[in-house]
């Protein structure tokens, strides 16, 4: 029992299904086979009944012959009697022992057998009587009274035989009816049993074949909802057990992968925090350094300028020039410190934008005014073309001005003779553009990218003539990108360069770009120099 239970719970699902299907198929087959057997029996019964009927008919014919022999001796035919007697003999033998030629099995019912045995006995008598009749008839010497006696005897035995064969027939019929009833009952029971067995099989399939499916559903649902590592219980060694193992292994892999992912995320988060902290410290450091460097520079420049002003007494004429040199060098150093601080601020994402609605042509003209003295000082022609109508721009005025002044100062710096042109271009694709063209030394194609790098001045330009921090273009490019735009450069070595600043008409602010706000314009303008050139007094 427990072995069956074990088989049911752990055995192969394929085997279980096959067993169930076999069971379902076997039932009707069994019922059909049994019915065939019963029907065969019933047709055998019918033939028995027919044989018994024939027996009766033959007996009746023999009796009639004997009778007619008494009444009308001329009609008597011994051949007919012989024929019928042989037929009766055959039928009796068939009933008693069965007959292959008649396709009849021997009678098996005890009651019918008794009747047949009685008929066999009566048959003996019958044969005797008919033989006697025949013998007497041949002798032609039968007295009338003897004839009468024989007649009575013949009739008696004929009727007795008739009665017997009647009984046998009846008995066979009763038996056949009973067989039909039994078959009907059997079929009814078989259908009922088949129905029950089918129900049982369906239940068994649900319970023992499909049983584990709900636990799979539960596990899948767990995994779907992120509870990785959900397990399905493994029972035995069948297909579901294999499936469960495969699922469990997958689930474990998923859990491992998930754990790794979370771990990596944490790691990345940690690294990010570290990087942010490092970046903050760096910008803090640069800011502190900037302050620490400015303080002594302030003293150097302060003493120098006081000396130049004669606060400490009259300055000999030939000392003016060196004092001016100290001041100029200090200003260069100050510009470098400012630039480094700007780079650090942009890198740390702490360069705030102050957005306002502005007319870009005004800014271009302002820049032209700032550049004009520089150009005049070098004997260069400066043209400013800001006539292109451009719609209102929302951007950071100071930063645009710084970029353009930077580019302009650069153009002037690297141009020995000729001109510098500042031009506002027609707006396109939501952007405005300002172009700065010079007739300067130009840039070799291979160096076009390098000029925007930090502390990069082209090697052959390291002369007194081109002094600068080397950060101007790098800062300008960063500022332009900070404002959502870019700077392009075209150049022919020895003929000049064209820098194009392209910026969006509306600066879009994303989360990392700082927190732009409208500058309190009135205050800042009164607050004096707060821009990058603040310290570099002229």
């Amino acid at each position: 029992m427990s072995r069956w239970k074990q088989l049911l719970e752990t055995g192969s699902i394929r085997l279980r299904l096959q067993a169930a299907v076999l069971l379902l198929a076997a039932l009707p087959t069994l019922v059909l086979l049994t019915s065939f057997y019963q029907l065969d029996r019933m047709s055998s019964d019918a033939r028995h009944i027919a044989l018994a009927g024939g027996l009766r008919t033959s007996a009746f014919i023999v009796a009639a012959q004997l009778n007619s022999h008494l009444a009308h001796p001329a009609d008597y035919k011994w051949e007919i009697v012989q024929d019928e007697l042989r037929r009766m003999e055959e039928a009796l033998t068939a009933l008693e022992q069965g007959s292959r030629s008649l396709d009849v099995a021997p009678v098996t019912h005890a009651e019918v057998k008794v009747r047949i045995a009685e008929a066999r006995h009566a048959m003996g008598l019958y044969r005797q009587v008919t033989a006697d009749v025949h013998a007497h008839r041949a002798a032609q010497e039968l007295p009338p009274e003897r004839l009468e006696a024989i007649s009575q005897e013949v009739l008696g035995s004929a009727y007795g035989f008739l009665a017997l064969s009647n009984l046998a027939t009846q008995s066979l019929e009763t038996h056949a009816r009973a067989a039909v009833n039994r078959l009907q009952l059997f079929q009814g029971i078989a259908v009922a049993v088949a129905f029950l067995v089918t129900l049982l099989t369906v239940w068994a399939i649900r319970r023992f074949v499909l049983g584990p499916i709900p636990s799979f559903f539960a596990a899948f649902s767990d995994v779907k909802e992120g509870r990785y590592g959900a397990h399905v219980a493994v029972q035995g060694e069948n297909e579901f057990a294999h499936l469960a193992r495969a699922f469990n292994s997958m689930s474990e892999s998923l859990e491992r992968a998930h754990r790794d992912l979370v771990f990596k995320q944490t790691e990345i988060l940690e690294k990010n925090t570290e990087l942010e902290r490092a970046s903050r410290l760096k910008s803090q450091f640069v800011s502190n350094m900037s302050h620490e460097l400015r303080t002594p520079l302030n003293a150097i420049m302060g003493y120098t300028r006081l000396l130049s002003r004669g606060v400490y007494g009259e300055i000999p004429e030939k000392m003016q020039e060196p004092l001016h040199g100290i001041d100029e060098t200090s200003k260069g150093l100050l510009q470098l410190i400012n630039d480094i601080l700007d780079v650090a601020k942009i890198e740390a994402g702490r360069m705030d934008l102050y957005l306002e609605t502005l007319r870009i042509e005004e800014v271009v003209r302002e820049v032209g005014e700032i550049l004009r003295p520089l150009a005049i000082a070098k004997g260069l022609e400066l043209t400013v073309d800001a006539d292109e109508p451009v719609q209102n721009v929302t951007s950071d005025r100071d930063k645009i001005r710084r970029i353009l002044v930077n580019l302009g100062a650069n153009a002037v710096k690297f141009t020995r003779r000729g001109s510098v042109a500042l031009r506002l271009l027609p707006e396109a694709e939501g952007c405005f553009a300002v172009e700065l063209t010079d007739t300067g030394i130009g840039i070799a194609p291979g160096n076009l990218d390098a000029i925007f790098e930090d502390f990069r001045q082209l090697e052959d330009s390291h002369t007194r003539e081109h002094e600068g921090t080397g950060l101007g273009l790098a800062i300008s490019l960063r500022l332009a990108r900070h404002l959502g735009g870019d700077i392009e450069v075209r150049s022919v070595l020895g003929q000049g360069s064209t820098f194009t600043l392209r910026l969006p008409l509306f600066v879009r602010v994303d989360g990392d770009a700082g927190s732009p706000e409208l500058e309190p314009a009135s205050e800042s303008s009164e607050a004096g120099p707060a821009g990058p050139d603040s310290g570099g007094a002229s």
């Binding site: 302030n298 302060g302 002003r309 310290g535």
Partner: protein
């Protein structure tokens, strides 16, 4: 603008900065222009040594050890509500300037400073202050 104008007519300027060189330069420049100047290297020293000085204008640094220039500005404002206070700092970021406004500064200059700009600013602030006085 010379020493002969007498003590009463000379404008008094208080300078607080932790850099002695800066104090010396500003003092030399302003005294050369005829102002009376007291310097201190900290807010505490200013309060301790120049309580009776009664300045007409103050020049304050921001980044000083212990009490910073914002606190000095706030302290001075409580004692002299109408005193023009000019912050003179190496910090030049707009947020520094904004904070100085919030603490009650009247003007803001960055280091390294231009002597002429400092003189112009001081003169203008003193004139504005004089205009605002009731008499």
């Amino acid at each position: 603008m010379s020493e002969q104008e007498g003590r009463t007519s000379r404008k008094r300027i208080l300078v607080v900065d932790d850099d002695p060189h800066h104090n010396r330069i500003v003092k030399d420049l302003l005294e050369h222009e005829g102002y009376e100047v007291k310097t201190a290297m900290s807010t505490r020293q200013a309060v301790a040594e120049h309580w009776d000085f009664e300045p007409d204008l103050a020049l304050l640094d921001i980044m000083m050890p212990k009490l910073d220039g914002y606190t000095a500005c706030d302290t001075l404002r409580k004692v002299h509500p109408d005193l023009p206070i000019v912050m003179l700092s190496a910090k030049d970021q707009s947020e520094d300037i904004k904070e100085a406004w919030d603490w009650g500064a009247s003007y803001y200059l960055t280091k390294p400073f231009d002597p002429q700009e400092l003189l112009d600013t001081v003169r203008r602030m003193l004139e504005e202050s004089a205009d605002n006085e009731p008499e």
